[in-house]
């Protein structure tokens, strides 16, 4: 079974994100970038399927500018067999990414596509679902456990207040939730091996997709700063302030 796994290059989630001075965008200058945490979980799951003898080949794909090849190399170091980079510049919307991934799906014909449920920068939670629609494949989103049984894929989903188990016919799409697995560290020997693995580069034209933008970003601003608190002298003053200033009690 061939597995395609999508990885996105995002700002490292431990980095404090700052807006640019002119408010046009997030400041990405000299900021540490990393693989999107949900995509990392997707890679780990694909590699585990390979280690379990279920997957025969794991292909990591990323859409974006040239530097996202670093994240493809990370996926290769974690155990993916080869990489595909769809080179595209600018702010790419989920629909465009889904169309480009659909182009890769048509070329590679994987039995399973695993994506992160959302990226921590855009927070859109759209790409996997859009790809499902475009590729006409069943989808199991927010997966906390997956298991291939014959020509079916059982997906346990985290839904409000419980778990839901679905059975999907293959080929299918899965988007990962946090509890699906704990990704491994990239071992140094595997990082070195990853440098020699195949990485193909496509343009959107190669996949027959035109990159158009439907949304423009008007402004990016940091959250309002929290006002400093005050110390009250006694309970009476606290009650007074709650009543007359905060007006939360009467």
């Amino acid at each position: 079974m061939k597995v395609l796994v999508a990885v996105k290059r995002v700002v490292d989630y431990n980095v404090k994100v700052r807006a640019k001075g002119d408010g046009t965008d997030v400041d990405l200058n000299n900021v540490k970038m990393a693989i999107n945490p949900f995509c990392e979980i997707a890679v780990e799951e694909a590699v585990r399927l390979k280690e379990a003898g279920v997957a025969t080949e794991v292909i990591a794909v990323s859409v974006g500018a040239k530097p996202c090849q670093e994240q493809i190399r990370t996926a290769l170091a974690l155990g993916a067999d080869r990489g595909i980079h769809v080179e595209a510049e600018g702010r790419l919307e989920p629909l465009v990414i889904a169309k480009l991934l659909k182009g890769v799906v048509d070329k590679e014909e994987p039995q399973l596509v695993i994506l992160g449920k959302q990226s921590i920068d855009g927070d859109n939670n759209q790409t996997g679902q859009m790809l499902g629609a475009l590729a006409n494949m069943p989808q199991g989103t927010f997966a906390s456990e997956i298991k291939v049984e014959g020509d079916k894929l059982n997906v346990i989903r985290e839904v409000d207040g419980g778990l839901q188990t679905l059975s999907l016919s293959l080929p299918a799409i899965v988007t990962t939730d946090l509890r699906l697995n704990e990704p491994r560290y990239a071992s140094l020997p595997n990082i070195m091996k990853a440098k020699k693995k195949q990485l193909d580069v496509y343009t959107p034209e190669d996949l027959g997709v035109s990159v158009t933008s439907h949304v423009s970003q008007l402004k990016v601003e940091p959250p309002a700063e929290r006002k400093a608190g005050i110390k009250v002298e006694d309970v009476a003053q606290l009650v007074d302030k709650l009543k007359n200033e905060a007006k939360v009690i009467s």
């Binding site: 989630y13 431990n14 540490k32 990393a34 704990e182 560290y185 071992s187 020997p189 990082i191 070195m192």
Partner: protein, 466 residues
Amino acid sequence: MAAISPDILSALQACVGTERVFTDAVSFEHYGRDWTRVHTPAPLAVVLPGSAGEVQALVRLALAHKLALVPSGGRTGLSAGAVAHNGEVVVALDRLDDITDFNPVDRTVRCGAGVITAQLQAFAADQGFFYPVDFASSGSSQIGGNISTNAGGIKVIRHGMTRDWVAGLKIVTGSGELLDLNRGLVKNNAGYDLRQLVIGAEGTLGIVVEATMRLDRPPKDLAVLVLGTPDMKAVMQVLETYQGAMDLQAFEFFSELALQKVVVHQGLQRPFATPAEFYALLEFEQHSDADMEQAMALFEHCVEQGWVVDGVVSQSVAQAQSLWRLREDISETISRWTPYKNDISTTIARVPEFLAEVEAVVSASYPEFEIVWFGHIGDGNVHLNVLKPDTLPMAEFQQRCGEVSRWVFEIVQRYEGSISAEHGVGLLKKDYLHYSRSELEIQMMRQIKKVFDPQGIMNPGKIFDL
């Protein structure tokens, strides 16, 4: 425990305010001891002064009433330096917590003694700077305590100890005078540098009330490697290989048993499945891709030489933090076995031989005890922890460890090492001070103490007896 006389109580209250003097058991337990659990805290009172002037007033009062004073910071010490077990007045500096006079040109900032290390680190980061002294207890430890113990920690190999970051300090001596030492100067060869005597004096010369701390530029894009090695000798060869080619920020090691304990008790992931006897954790800056390429090339070399069996590298800040936890969580993890801790050092090159000798003595003496090794090693400092078996009573455990300590310290002496690399001497190590210091040195220390503290009221009984 003698109850406090009404005269002294009201005199203390007059110094710092009625609500800043505590004489209850809970406060004694809280303020009267550090992380050691050997002595029972039994102070006369706990006071929380709010200014250098109030500290001076307390010292004058102590002189008049022949009271001993014990300074108290974050109370995370490991040598019972901040333990009050003998009717002393505990002077807790928590309220001196102002961070002021940030100076980006001098790269300095003024801190009250009670500023918590993590607060200074966060302040520095907000200004685009970096305070590099860091250790597992930085969320509780205070600058005054760091200075008094010359705290080291995990970045010593690159940034040195607290001593290297103190540009100036103010201390209230045992005579109640306020000394303003060095005042932030970089160059100051006008006579003796008394500041350096105060750093690491464990409060025996006076109470540090304020310090001007230096800041550094922030490190750039840190990467963490964890490498598995077959033996201790290989750890040192890895250190030599990497240090010869790169500026390391940290070089730590820990044993397989330490890793097992941390993985089980903290729920962390092993770095890799390949078994190894010891692990080295390296941290370095990535100014460009060349740094990681260099690290990879060195890794290949170490594997070819048989010094390294496997290794991982952090791919994100989160992974770097998780890998650091494998080392930083050891102390907390093993604390449930109330370990007998030794914090010993020698010159870096002699560490493997030194360690082998200590290991031989320790495993022959405690065949049934679990020994956990970890440490900074890039600076010659190793932590030897003997875990108490659950069935053994504490007193018997302490006694048996105390016996073997002497043998360990004889080895330390032969290697011209230190019986306390970074934890200080306090009460716990003072009987062993002579293994690291000559009689003449200790005699001169006593004379220096007399100059600062003629009546002997400042943290008496710590480091040495008068």
